[in-house]
Subunit: 311 residues, 2 copies
């Protein structure tokens, strides 16, 4: 089959990839849509030099083979981390942190930028009929947004700030606004900020302070801005990953008793429930054939991806 | 009266200081003992250039005048932060973070390195008769140690690491060990670490990982060590303040979903209860007359301080 393959140094379209065969605990998924995440770009820039395999981890597809007969023929989305099941992390509810975990399209496991993919059956979640593929493909980043209230208590009466006007911020701000809290999104681009205005306040500069500040800016400047925006005894949630170190004044964390919480992948079931209830604004995904992968990666659309469905 | 005064640049013994007169909400405290904290040294090095006044914030004394008649003649210890009572922080239980707070011996208020000091009466806590002055003077740093379980849930089944073998670590490790948790103290000095061995494990190097890591090393190397010692989804508590910025890998906080919690001054009532129950090992305070202040500040004793009691 044809797929977008990363050889540890660069991405390339290959035609010689075998259709994978599921192991006993796995399912074979025929991919319908797959979306590009910034992490895919970071991998292509050298973020995961140990990874070789098919790229991609945001998908919706249909189960073709499975150890769970009830899933065969069902539309599914899927979690990306598969722990070993044996280590301290796996046994204490922290499978996402298993040190030998497989992570589709990122570590030790082929991803979804191809017509077929295998994955552990327990990671799959059936998609309700009322959620179209074009929305279901947002399940993974939406789950990542939901990891914020999973880790930090969001009080509906508190003022919250989200730094960044990109894709992840768009989902984070919506999830947090659903609590009833007043959300202010701080960004650099007036045109991008306009998209947030039905559910959040927006600003390009701000001298107020907030109880919770989410840094989804995707750059090292985010933490510095967050330190100025957070109240004493408030919480900063970090969502951005990027290479290298950042200079921070640690004493001000102590003196102001600030909490900093790192947050990564999140829970799929609530993401699917929110999608099914139609509570989120989701922009259209710009779809390309996999043969146009370079064009898709260069796209400036809010979300770009690949369409594997037969026309 | 005689007192150790800081003029914004340096400390000096002055003989011309007036005995302070309490305001309507204040008490006049005759100081019995006052102890030196590392913050006093940091102020003398330039940490608080805006402060001028009598230094010192760890004390035990006797109330001579007060708006609360029940306190007159009582032995007391005292909290150090007095908020304005009007601002958002004061009105949301965060008086310690009031931006116009007075802090005895540190900001906008004379401290305790003199025979008399005034302070807001509501900040004073009576000392039970069974707690000698030499132990009561530890109330303030002990309260700071207790701010850790005040901010972070300490589970008795979890493994905890305290980085640093100094005075604050000594109190922190004891407070955390009282929960029943296994505490490992990581230090650089075998002789200092020996003092911890009745209540904690000790080590000069460690390749294990912990659910909670407290950085009380007092230097920028502490956070780097803490990042290596903490488990994924674990918590780092920062207790050390020092000047300048520190380089940190923020992406590893996100990927490993680590929480970092800054923690400063703490609750006095539980500190006094623990002192009264005799549950803590407290080394002797090396006492000097205030005239020997330079010798006291140069002392390498575990805790040095000043004795104002009449012989």
């Amino acid at each position: 089959m044809q797929g977008l393959y990363f050889d540890g140094r660069q991405a390339m379209l290959r035609d010689d990839l075998p259709v994978p065969e599921p192991q006993v605990h796995e399912s074979l998924v025929r991919i319908s849509l797959a979306a590009i995440c910034n992490t895919d770009r970071e991998i292509m820039k050298g973020y995961k030099p140990d990874f070789t395999g098919i790229l991609g981890h945001e998908f919706v597809g249909v189960v073709e083979k499975s150890n769970d007969p009830a899933l065969i023929g069902r539309r599914v989305v899927g979690e990306i981390n598969e722990g070993c099941g044996e280590c301290l992390y796996c046994k204490t509810g922290r499978e996402h942190h298993c040190e030998s975990r497989k992570c589709i399209g990122i570590a030790r496991k082929d991803g979804c930028f191809a017509p077929f993919m295998t994955t552990a059956t327990r990671l799959l979640h059936a998609v309700p009929d009322n959620v179209p593929d074009e929305q279901a493909v947002f399940a993974e980043p939406l789950a990542a947004a939901l990891q914020i209230p999973e880790m930090v208590q969001i009080r509906p009466s508190e003022e919250i700030c989200v730094i960044g006007d990109g894709r992840l911020s768009f989902l984070i701000a919506q999830v947090l606004a659903l609590t009833g809290a007043e959300v202010t999104v701080l960004g650099k681009h007036e045109d991008k900020l306009r998209r947030f205005q039905s559910f959040a306040k927006t600003a390009t500069a701000c001298d107020r302070r907030f109880e919770v500040v989410v840094d989804a800016a995707g750059s090292p400047s985010g933490i510095e801005a967050a330190m100025k925006l957070v109240r004493s005894r408030g919480t900063i949630v970090l969502k951005s990953t990027y290479a290298g170190n950042t200079e921070t004044n640690l004493s001000s964390i102590v003196v102001n008793e600030v909490s900093i919480v790192g947050s990564r992948c999140g829970p799929f079931e609530p993401a699917v429930r929110l999608l099914s209830r139609g509570l989120l604004e989701l922009p259209p995904v710009e779809l390309h054939p996999i043969t146009d992968w370079e064009k898709a990666f260069a796209s400036r659309a809010f979300k770009a991806g690949f369409d594997f469905r037969e026309k």
